[in-house]
């Protein structure tokens, strides 16, 4: 990546030299001039992140009380992978988690894995696969989560450590889940502003894990559908509507504490500072949606398509008047006021995996939502949406997974899952 010549033993600032020289100034200027893209990014990983990072090429700190990639300003690209643990040996699983942590530290800092992509030994395949050489850190974040399967009895001795909140998600009306795109023992969410950097990260982690873990499914995402940076322009999803207007901001410490981070009192202890992630692959029936009149589209969503203003209001950020919307409008059903105050931090991505053989785009939303407890978050909201939302004529949930996302890695001696396994 950016810089492999530096002494490996030296702790370096997360931002690589080249990134600062080449991009820092321009990025700042760009951030000031426009309200677009990732300009007003926030470094996370740290204590819910307050240091502004105004550079889409920069590095995001990997170490911190919380994992980066949650409150972090949403990057442009995603590669999400769910793994099955294939080894039955707890020590081997832990060894992979430790190796992963070290590799993640390097990759998020813009460095290559192990001894690099061009090692001295010509007879051996290089440790790093090389496609990110010369690329900037691109705000890469790597976020790990543990699925219910990991806690099964007779596997790794973790049956007593399964959090109550790590439920098996109930079946929702209309679900059409493909088990090959659902579940997983472990997930890694890789987000970056450069798709190649995100793909490189997952590819190299999968390679390190061969023989101990196998990729069960993975998903690429190309356009963020929610931002955690309210000052920036709200992104649009594949339906053409702004999505995530009222998402939890990455800087809103109060909301993060209330709705996203697991507190020490919530239990179990190893999850303090962590969060719960629900991932849903939501296929959109793009073609039929596109044939729907503008008025009907807006009725279904509950906001106007151009500005994104709620019904009866003129600005996107105006407080919605839920009663002005149709009873089954999406925004009304999903609003915290309709769900006893439930809120999630969404950081989903649009996807298009080519076409489906019938000439239709295989496209939709890869929904990712972090929350303090899914039983007060995703579950009640989705129950309400699945039952009533008119949008269901145009979407179908085809993949589903839930993960307990542990707290952050503290330093270069700490590792992903230490609290769970010790």
């Amino acid at each position: 990546m950016a810089d492999d010549q530096l002494d490996e033993n030296t702790e370096r600032p997360a931002t690589s030299r080249r990134a600062v020289l080449g991009w820092g100034g321009a990025g700042l200027a760009l951030g000031a001039a426009t309200a677009g893209g990732a300009a007003a990014a926030v470094a996370s990983g740290g204590d819910s992140g307050t240091a502004p990072v105004a550079d889409s090429g920069a590095a995001v700190a990997f170490h911190g009380a919380h994992q980066a990639g949650i409150a972090t300003a949403v990057q442009d690209r995603l590669h999400f992978a769910a793994f099955d643990v294939t080894t039955e040996d707890r020590a081997e699983l832990i060894a992979v988690l430790k190796k992963w942590t070290r590799a993640a530290e390097r990759m998020t800092a813009g460095r290559s894995v192990g001894e690099g992509a061009v090692s001295e030994l010509a007879e051996a395949p290089p440790d790093d696969t090389g496609e990110a050489l010369g690329l900037k850190p691109s705000r890469l974040t790597l976020t790990i989560g543990f699925g219910p399967g990991l806690f099964e009895k007779g596997r790794f001795g973790l049956e007593d450590r399964r959090p109550e909140a790590l439920i098996d998600l109930p079946a929702f009306p209309g679900d059409n889940l493909d088990k090959n795109r659902s579940g997983g023992d472990i997930c890694v969410q890789a987000c970056a502003d450069d798709p190649q950097v995100a793909v490189h990260a997952i590819r190299n982690l999968a390679r390190i894990a061969f023989g101990k873990m196998a990729v069960r499914w993975s998903q690429l995402g190309f356009g963020k559908t929610s931002s955690t940076t309210p000052d920036a322009q709200t992104p649009r999803n594949m339906m053409g509507f702004k999505d995530g207007t009222r998402n939890i901001a990455g800087t809103d410490k109060k909301a993060l504490t209330k709705h996203v981070w697991v507190s020490g009192k919530d239990g179990p202890g190893w999850m303090a500072g962590g969060s719960y992630l629900v991932a849903r692959r939501i296929r959109m029936h793009i073609e039929t949606w596109d044939r729907t009149s503008l008025k009907e589209q807006e009725d279904i969503i509950g906001r106007d398509k151009g500005e994104g203003a709620p019904f009866g209001k003129s600005k996107e950020r105006d407080e919605p008047n839920l009663k002005a919307m149709l009873p089954d409008a999406h925004v009304r059903l999903a609003h915290p006021d309709s769900n006893s105050g439930a809120q999630m931090l969404r950081r989903g991505y649009s996807f298009t995996d080519g076409t489906d053989g019938l000439g239709r785009l295989d496209a939709g939303l890869f929904f990712l939502a972090y929350q303090r407890d899914v039983r007060d978050g995703f579950v009640p909201v989705q129950q309400s949406l699945a039952r009533k939302d008119t949008l269901n004529e145009y979407i179908q949930h085809v993949g589903s997974a839930i993960f307990a996302v542990p707290p952050g890695v503290r330093d270069t001696r700490d590792w992903w899952g230490r609290e769970l396994f010790s």
Binding site: T86, L121, E123, A124, F210, G211, A214
Partner: protein, 376 residues
């Protein structure tokens, strides 16, 4: 089957730099100046000069024994530098070769079989190849023996298949098909290093180049399973297959094999599994992919086991991991055994194929590090 790949051309280049250009000329006259006299009997192989300058070397062979003999020059690891067969009792022959400085053996093989009676010789001069760890020389020699045995044992099995095709007996031909391929599949990277044989015997329809005639096992596989009829042309192809396989058996001893190519060959066998067998592409009509799969794994395991003493010393952790993963993949495959062979691959579901693919990845990843562990 596979397209020619990098390691093959590397092997070819290595063969050139090793300074090997052998040729044998018939001669019934007296030997010329500077020739090394080789006197072969039924029990001896006398060589007049044990040390000679590197470069153009001429052997003047005289068979004073009662059996037909043959004479070889071997480079370390039993690579044939040059050879001369069919030297009858009382006759003479002349063999020439270009040899680089280094250690060689001259072997006489009365009765034209076996290990031969050997003499250590040395070509002196500059540019001698670095001496290998003797354990690695031994590994290469053992592997060469394995490769030759696999080739030799393939011929009768392939003949059985060819005979059944020529007799128009579809059932017998189907039964003989997969077993006829095992020796080939075990040692495929070596066979592929000759370049011209693989495209004749193991090419799939989609691997044909423009203008290339489809010959070999897979054409007959299609005839048997897809067309379900054996044409006159197919019967001729059975003979062509035998001719090409005999060519392979003849050439295999000359293959340039070294510890690195052995280790990389093992990895390539797993690559074959990953891209051709797990997907069911290799045996798309017969669905005998698991037979090939097993043979590929066996061939890789043979290389590994021969290199293991050195690998285990240089990288004990890698050796431990490879031991574990070879065991695991063999256990996985054992679950699909049926009779003398394996279940038809079209009965193996998507989930099971994924498990097999995961197993292949688990083995192939550490196997890709074997070459480095052997040479370091």
């Amino acid at each position: 089957m596979r397209a020619v790949r990098l390691s093959v051309s590397v092997a070819a280049a290595a063969a050139l730099t090793a300074g090997v250009a052998g040729c044998a000329e018939k001669s019934d006259g007296a030997s010329g100046d500077g020739a090394i006299q080789v006197t072969a009997t039924d029990s001896k192989c006398d060589v007049s000069d044990k040390e000679f300058p590197a470069g153009h070397v001429k052997l003047a062979v005289e068979n004073k024994g009662s059996k037909v003999t043959e004479v070889y020059i071997y480079a370390p690891g039993d690579r044939i530098v040059t050879e001369r067969e069919n030297i009858g009792p009382g006759t003479k022959a002349e063999i020439t070769a270009e040899v680089r400085a280094g250690d060689y053996q001259i072997a006489c093989k009365p009765g034209m079989k076996g290990h031969g009676i050997r003499q250590d010789v040395k070509a002196s001069g500059k540019g001698a190849a670095k001496k290998l760890d003797p354990r690695l020389d031994k590994a290469v020699a053992e592997y060469r023996k394995y490769v030759q045995t696999q080739a030799d044992e393939t011929l009768p099995l392939a003949q059985k298949f060819a005979d059944a095709v020529k007799a128009g007996d579809i059932d017998a031909a189907k039964a003989a098909y997969a077993p006829s391929r095992i020796g080939w599949e075990r040692t495929e990277p070596v066979a592929e290093s000759f370049g011209d044989i693989d495209p004749k015997v193991d090419v799939r329809e989609d691997g044909l180049e423009k203008g290339q005639k489809w010959t070999g096992w897979h054409k007959l596989e299609k005839a048997l399973w897809q067309d379900e009829k054996i044409t006159g042309a197919d019967k001729k192809l059975a003979d062509t297959l035998m001719k090409d396989l005999k060519d392979w058996v003849q050439k295999v001893g000359r293959a340039d094999i070294n510890p690195t190519s052995m280790a990389n060959g093992a990895k390539e066998l797993l690559d074959e599994v990953a891209t051709g067998k797990v997907t069911g592409e290799e045996e798309r009509y017969s669905h005998t992919d698991l037979v090939d799969f097993k043979a590929n794994v066996e061939g890789a395991q043979k290389s590994y086991e021969l290199l293991r003493p050195v690998a285990a010393k240089n990288d004990p952790e890698l050796a431990k991991e490879l031991d574990t993963q070879f065991k695991a993949i063999n256990k996985q495959l054992a679950g699909y055994e049926e009779g003398d062979g394996y279940v038809s691959y079209d009965t193996v579901g998507k989930k099971e194929r994924k498990e097999l693919s995961d197993g292949v990845n688990a083995l192939a990843e550490p196997l890709s590090k074997l070459a480095a562990a052997v040479v370091k």
